[in-house]
Subunit: 305 residues, 2 copies
């Protein structure tokens, strides 16, 4: 049996600095975070972007992990090269093979702390269930969005994104740092429990399933001409009813929610998403039965069967 | 008598986007903001930095307005060139001579809305008094700081900075936009009143006088190794007592306020100031008598005597 190794990433976006700062402090004081004896690799995803105080240099690194055939260590695009390098160094078949990737992000939206899973991979859902059971974190299932692909964690057999907010870009904050530390340690503890087969899975999982994203109102030239309505700002996870206010313009016009279904908005006014034409995303809240295949998949992965 | 002209600047820092957005909307709908018939010029301070989603390209534009002899339209430094250009176009002796400059900023600190005056120029203090009297805004008197010079408004005979927060960089927010609009209109209304000599000055002015700035705790290599204490975060304008918590480190160490005087902290954890080695600034709250020279200076300026 090969040794279990976990890849921990902070700063996949260079201006999300709380995780980077925590990792830097951790390098200085190895006792700072309990990894329950599991071998980990700590990586700053986009150190060049961090230096530049930006999300990325050429292209969003967390949209750059494409099919292996497209990855290129020789690309002139900095993030494509960096994605290849991280997979080369820490991929499942890399120099330091990792089976699980945990990617720590922050958001300017009032998301609190949450997990993001990409698609419906059994091991991801099992690990997310364990964390929801421990900390009650909401889970955002990102799927069916052809415009947003190439996420880092998808290049590992199991991987979660951890999103913590609200926090401005480039801003260090005690609450965000301590939340990051808590969730990191809880993830390591739960992986440790699975390794020792001392694991307790819940019967149900609450999922916020991605339905679609909506853009800001824009004028004829494509410029944003309305902002998030004050009644909607910072109201992530709070159900929308028909006719609820979404945006307003300076001329008093209000743009309302016109769907018949009661969607739950997430990532409301995430600063980095304006360039992606996303003002917020809509999800459906669903209660899923826990599937025993999820458990088997995670156990098999961690035990390297 | 020459015509009174007022220079209005937003986006002196490219990632403070609320003022820029308001000005862009205003360009589309001239009725949006009431300037009380006063001729204004609306300028985006650093449009290149705005495009790049950054505070500046080479150097902070709001530290680039040096003595005229140092200004250079041919500099290879983008912001030096831009500073020269703005003075050339809108300076007191420029193509479109303006006597007053109003510079709209935002901050990640919980400053609410406030005015910043640089040094003790009579006309600045008169205009700030009028606004404090109307809106109750605190006034931060920035002086005696040799490390921070070259502010835009100092290149005009009268000028104020308006700071509004908290808001993350690159983030549009209804509250910040509406505060910017309110303060801009109040400034124009008060200038209009002075023009018509229908002016009412208060007897007293509350000033927060800059004393000094303090840096984050740093390790031996100069890296930040502590963050703003949760009890201090977002507590701008709230008096510090000896032994109050300022910063903490992940090892539990707390750095405390050790001054004997009860300073008032401002700009706590402004994201852009970390590179300037400023975690927060200390001020003294003072009650000043209104001076009749201030009034005379502002009236003379506006009436072009």
């Amino acid at each position: 049996m090969k040794q279990l190794q976990v890849l921990l990433v902070a700063g996949t976006h260079g201006n999300e600095i709380n995780g980077i700062w925590l990792f830097d402090e951790w390098k200085k004081s190895s006792f700072l975070i309990n990894t329950y004896g599991i071998k980990t690799f700590k990586v700053i995803g986009n150190p060049e972007a961090k230096k530049a105080g930006k999300r990325y240099i050429h292209h969003d690194l967390n949209r750059s992990f494409k099919e292996e055939s497209c990855l290129s260590i020789n690309s002139s695009n900095f993030e494509e090269r960096r994605a290849s390098e991280i997979v080369y160094l820490y991929g499942e078949a890399g120099e330091n093979p990792c089976q699980i990737a945990l990617d720590f992000h922050t958001t300017t939206a009032s998301m609190g702390s949450c997990l993001v899973v990409y698609g419906r991979r059994d091991a991801d859902l099992a690990l997310a269930s364990l964390i929801q059971n421990q900390l009650g974190l909401p889970i955002y299932l990102h799927e069916s969005d052809q415009e947003q692909t190439g996420f880092l964690v998808e290049s590992w057999p199991c991987g979660l994104v951890i999103e913590i907010g609200p926090i401005g870009q480039g801003l260090l904050n005690s609450k965000i740092i301590l939340q990051t530390k808590l969730i990191l340690e809880t993830l390591m503890e739960q992986i440790h429990q699975v390794k020792n087969l001392k694991l307790f899975f819940p019967n149900k999982l609450i999922i916020h399933r991605h339905i679609k994203s909506i853009d800001f109102p824009r004028d004829e030239e494509g410029n944003i001409d309305g902002y998030v309505h004050p009644l909607r700002q910072s109201k992530d996870w709070q159900e929308l009813k028909k006719n609820d206010e979404l945006f307003c313009k300076l001329n008093g016009e209000i743009i309302r929610f016109e769907e018949d279904e009661p969607y739950i908005p997430v990532f409301i006014n995430e600063a980095a998403y304006a360039e992606k034409n996303i003002a917020m995303s809509f999800t459906k809240r669903e209660l899923w039965d826990f599937q025993k295949e999820w458990k088997k998949s995670l156990i098999d992965l961690i035990h390297q069967k």
